[in-house]
């Protein structure tokens, strides 16, 4: 009996949290745009969310491309099909690895930072004092951060894919001595711009939306203590990673199903 009550409370709690996060997001986004003050704030956030994530994205992209190139070559060469490395590399990176790994790194690098920043603002009562001055913290603090994450995630995903393919090219062609012409022409013959590249970008857009939403909400609704901030940061990374991996499966199923 008690167990059922607990379960009910748990379910209601989850629905409530989702509802609150939806309302917060709605109130932060849907309002009259204020370009004069909003744009500099957005640029500032694009810097801290996007530009500062650039190095980790590029370095991990390079290494992931290199390791896929190396592993793929060693496996394909057993079948005498090392010429197909270009298409293996490009398809696996553009369709799956690029969006997913970028999303996970983005959640760890930018999402946790967003949560901690907003949570600390709440703990030091900066958000309340903004409300006292009749400044809406949703508009002033949440909206530029949300938009910055939403915009920079697809850009980071594109950069990741390009760098990873270059890393794979570097290993396969420069190091293992695969023919460069076969590498690129097999890749171009098998990668379709609409099906592969654009669907990968759609994935990064969805992941960017979800990760930034979770990060912003966890920061805004955290318990305003040092422990609460820490917990909210952890939750951001855990929930974002789970959301990315499960949504990736759903999106892939939809895209392969010719949706």
């Amino acid at each position: 009996m008690n167990g059922i009550i607990r379960l009910g409370q748990f379910g209601i709690n989850i629905c409530e949290r989702i509802g609150i996060s939806g309302i917060i997001l709605f109130r932060a986004i849907f309002r009259k745009p204020d370009f004069k003050h909003g744009f500099p704030a957005l640029v500032e956030q694009l810097y801290s969310v996007g530009v500062l994530s650039l190095v980790i994205i590029m370095v991990s992209g390079l290494f992931i491309g290199m390791v896929v190139g190396l592993q793929g070559y060693n496996t394909l060469v057993k079948f005498g099909a090392s010429q197909a490395l270009g298409q293996l590399l490009a398809l696996s990176i553009v369709r799956e690895l690029g969006p997913v790994v970028t999303g996970l790194l983005f959640a760890g690098r930018a999402g946790s930072a967003l949560t901690a920043e907003i949570g600390l603002m709440k703990a030091t009562e900066q958000l309340s004092s903004m409300e006292m001055m009749a400044v809406d913290p949703l508009h002033r603090v949440i909206a530029p951060r949300f938009w910055a994450g939403f915009i920079s995630m697809p850009l980071l995903g594109i950069i990741f894919s390009a760098v990873a393919i270059y890393g794979g090219y570097w290993v396969a062609v420069q190091w293992l001595g695969l023919d460069a012409g076969a590498f690129w022409s097999n890749m171009q013959a098998s990668v379709n711009f609409n099906i592969d590249v654009l669907n990968g970008i759609i994935k990064t857009i969805v992941f960017g939306f979800v990760v930034t939403w979770i990060a912003v909400f966890q920061g805004y609704e955290c318990v305003p203590t040092s422990e609460g901030i820490g917990r909210a940061t952890t939750k951001t990374v855990v929930y974002s990673s789970l959301a990315i991996l499960s949504l990736d499966f759903v999106l892939t199923a939809m895209m392969l199903g010719g949706w």
Binding site: P40, V43, E44, L46, Y47, G50, V51, L54, A81, Q83, A90, V94, S152, P154, L155, L156, I158, I159, S161, A162, V163, I165, W184, N186, M187, Q188, A189, S190, V191, N192, F193, D196, V197
Partner: protein, 172 residues
């Protein structure tokens, strides 16, 4: 103020890198380039069977790429496949050339290889390549091989079931 300018510069640089990466993905990785119509011309050819040929597959002469396939249709009267090719205008094709469908490697994708003829007149825009050879389909060749083995064995030729018979599309 100067810090703000610096931040704006970095954000601009970030977006620029993303655009360059997008262009790289679009053109270098997915090969989103088609031969522009200004310096190329179209020819068609009809095949009995095109096998696994797809739009955007290359058209080659002696292994050198001279164009690509832009359209594949079925002729409802003759049940032949009509393949439209976009050829660079630098490549001149004699009208008695032969178009073959080959496979790149054992498991590679199909492409069209044109064996040039000896005619003085060259094909113009919209004209049709008369001589074509259909795609070689591995299953048919294996089936044909099995069939010839079995029919060579005279004792069992009566009991050969129809499953080994070759279905359609073989040159008689």
């Amino acid at each position: 103020m100067s810090r703000m300018r610096f931040v704006e510069f970095l954000v601009g640089l970030f977006i620029l890198i993303a655009i360059v990466a997008f262009v790289f993905l679009a053109f270098k990785v997915s090969g989103l380039t088609s031969y522009s119509s200004s310096d190329s011309y179209q020819i068609t050819a009809s095949f009995q069977n095109i096998g696994d040929l797809k739009v955007r597959a290359p058209v080659t002469i002696a292994g050198v790429s001279i164009g690509e396939i832009t359209d594949i249709k079925l002729n409802p009267q003759t049940y032949e496949a009509i393949v439209t090719m976009q050829i660079k205008s630098a490549a001149k094709i004699p009208e008695d050339s032969t178009a073959n469908i080959f496979t790149a490697g054992l498991i590679g994708s199909n492409y069209i290889s044109i064996t040039p003829g000896f005619s003085e007149t060259i094909l113009k825009n919209g004209q049709r390549l008369q001589r074509t050879n259909q795609a070689m389909i591995l299953q048919n060749i294996i089936g044909q091989l099995l069939y010839s083995f079995k029919s060579g064995d005279s004792k069992k030729s009566d009991s050969t079931p129809t499953t080994t018979s070759v279905e359609g599309g073989l040159p008689q």
